[in-house]
Structures are given as C-alpha cells and as structure tokens.
Symmetry: C2
Subunit: 213 residues, 2 copies
Amino acid sequence: MKDADTNHAHRLAGRPASQRKIADILAAARVEFFANGFSATTIEAIAARAQVSKVTVYSWFKDKENLFGQVVQTEVAHMRENFVPENLAEKSLREILLHAALGMLDFLLRDDRVRLERMLAAEMARDPTIGKMFLENGPLRMAEGLKALLRASVKKGEIQSDDLEASAEMFAGLVMGRMDLLLRYGHKYKMTAADKEIRAKRAVDAWMLIHQP
Amino acid sequence: MKDADTNHAHRLAGRPASQRKIADILAAARVEFFANGFSATTIEAIAARAQVSKVTVYSWFKDKENLFGQVVQTEVAHMRENFVPENLAEKSLREILLHAALGMLDFLLRDDRVRLERMLAAEMARDPTIGKMFLENGPLRMAEGLKALLRASVKKGEIQSDDLEASAEMFAGLVMGRMDLLLRYGHKYKMTAADKEIRAKRAVDAWMLIHQP
DNA sequence: TTTTATTTGTACGGTTGCGTTCATTTTGCT
DNA sequence: AGCAAAATGAACGCAACCGTACAAATAAAA
C-alpha cells in the first residue's frame, strides 16, 4: 500500500500513479457497497467494475475496511456540500425556512442517501465509530446551522423559543415526519414538486405558529 | 427439518420434541443476530449459546435465513403487543396523546428496538420483503390507530384537521424529532422520567396548538 | 421392554472471499 | 534509451462457515 496522497516532492522517475484508476476504484466501490452493503461486497467485484486488477486495489487501499471508510467519508463530505444554509439577510425567516424544508425533502428522497443510511446502520455493529463520524459531519452540523439561524431570529423578536435545540428538532420532525423511516424500509414516494411544496409549507406554517411571539 | 408446530394428533411413540430447546434456539438467535447482524452471526454460535448441537438447529429451522425471519417476525409481533392504544372514552384527547407520546418515547429508547432496526436496515439489500413486513406490522399499524383516534376527535369538534395522515405524521415527528436518527448512530440519551414528560408535553402542546379548531 | 423420534458429536464437502506473492509487462519521466 | 514505479494475471494459503451425512446415544410413549 502506497500513500493516498502522491504528492511526493522526491519522485524522480518511474511510472506515475494513475489518479484516474484510484478515482475509478472509489467510484466502483461506491456502487458496489451501496448496492450490496459491506459484507456482501467483494473486492474482486470492485476491481472488475473499476477495470483494474485486484492487486491494484490493494496497492492503494489497505484493506476492505479502509476502502469502505474512504467511500463513506467521501460521501458524507459530498452530502455536506449540498447543505450551505442560506445566510442572507434579504429574505424573511419564513422564506428561508421554506427553502430549507424543500432542500431537506429533496435530500431525504435521494436514493443515494437512503442506501448510505442503510449501509451505515448495518456497520454500526462492526464499527460504532462510523456512526459518530456520520452524525457529526451530517445531521448535527446541519442542526447547528439551523440553531444559529433561529437564535438570530429570536433576538430580532421574530419568533420566541425557550429551547433552541427542541425548536430545531421540531422543525426537522415536522418536515420529515416519518418519511425517512418509510424510505428506509422500501416505501416508494411519488412526490411531485407541488407535493413537496405543500408538505414544506404545512411544516413551516405549523412551526411558525408554534413559535410565534 | 420438521414442522414448527408439533401438534400432530397422530404422534404415537418416540421421544417428544423439546419445546424448550426450540425456544432456546430462538432466544439465542435473537441475541446473536441483534448483536452482530445477519451475516456476521454464525449458526454455531447460536447453537452454542442455546446449548444445543448445530444439527438440532437445522432440524427445526430450514436454514439461516429462515431462522432469521422467525426471529424478526417474533420480535415485530412482540413489539405490536405493547402498542394497545388507549381506547377509552374517559380521558381527554390531551391525556390520551400525552400517554401515547410517553409510550413512544419509551419504545424509541429501547435498545432492543434500536438494534432490530439496524438489522432490518442492513437486510433490506438482501431481502426487501422484510421491510414491507416490518412497516405493515409496526409503524403503519400504529399510524392507523392514531388516525382513527384523530378522526373521532375531529368529528367531536375537539380539533380540526384537513389531512389526518399529515396530522398523524406531525404528531410522530414532533415527539420523536430526530431521536431515532441519533439513536441509530450510537448517541446515548440519558433521559429521566421527568425529561421524557417535558418532551412529551412540549410535543403534545405544539400539536394541539396546530390543530386547535 | 420395545418402539420410535429426538438429539448429539464428529466429520466432511464445498464454497467463498480476503489478502499475499511473484514474475512479467506497461508506462511515463529524465 | 534507460530507469523505476505502477499495474497485471495467475496462483496460492488460509480461514470461515454453510449445510449435510452418519452412526450412536437418549428419552418418552406404547
């Protein structure tokens, strides 16, 4: 196993590492892991999909566990990108929340996310660390952003709340309901954009009502 | 593999089946599966824990998959028992909801439930049927009960709702928030009875406010 | 006591898949 | 051109574990 970062200043000669292959392996691993989970996925299948020899896989990644971890980490990081909270003073709180709710719905409904969560749940028995990592980089981080927004709004007197944590959680609860549960267990939602807006609006209205000054 | 129900009227002689052993096997399987998940659990470990030979396991259960299915089914049935909704005309809606919310919280926090859900999520890739079974016997059934209660309350004019489905979901969302998510990924809650009551009350208050006539 | 089904221990066949070794080939840099 | 590292293919050791076969022991009913 070489090193993941191949920025060795002292490389002088020799065949350079093919970043393309490494990326291919990660992409292939993603597909296989997402489809079959950890234990049911074989390194050979990953190598085949990446059009790479098994030895090459092992030359870049220590073992199956390591490869899995990198896939998850990449995925979580990627998910995080899509969650840049609207940090603008232009719009009203209601508009911001509505936008956030719609974003949440879209995110929830992504098949990628559903599969990732199934995998993570499965791996909690083997490696509890991965759960903590996921929480801290995903849901908890998002919650902090929301709480910051709410704190500012409380200060401005737009809303009232004696427990920001609970308020943020209520918002998430109102928007999601039990969609994540149903999705995890295979329920197929067929929501149009209009459906999402109805749901988002209902959640925001309810939340605003609860928190009106 | 014999038959699971040994009520053969025509048994005449021979060593009778030991129901105790069968029960032991199921109990042991439950422990092992819950701790390690499906693939990481071995039949030998189950046999050892049940103090039974591996052959005996296979004589009562077709294979690993079958045994797993029976464990899950038993578990779901057991969960269902604990969800007899207060069908009483004595108490007020608020009291009923409060009681239901507290019940939900206790249920959510059970370690058994968390582990079971992790397992099920893991097995969705292998056998999607199991998800449907779980939903129908668990969450969806509970939702129906709640909806029936709400429907009656709407009729009595105690509350108003133009979408019972959404209202029921909101209730669940307000009570649970994201507890189930955090629990699934290893977060440890240390809630006292008082904490639970605070949370339940907050959720019920919010829900009642949203649905006041 | 005889009968008959249950239970056990041991052993085995078969499969799967991880991770490694090694000789060989490919590829780009200097 | 020549070097050095990357990549390959094939083969292997190894461990785990499923499911089965078989012969022997056990236990309760007839």
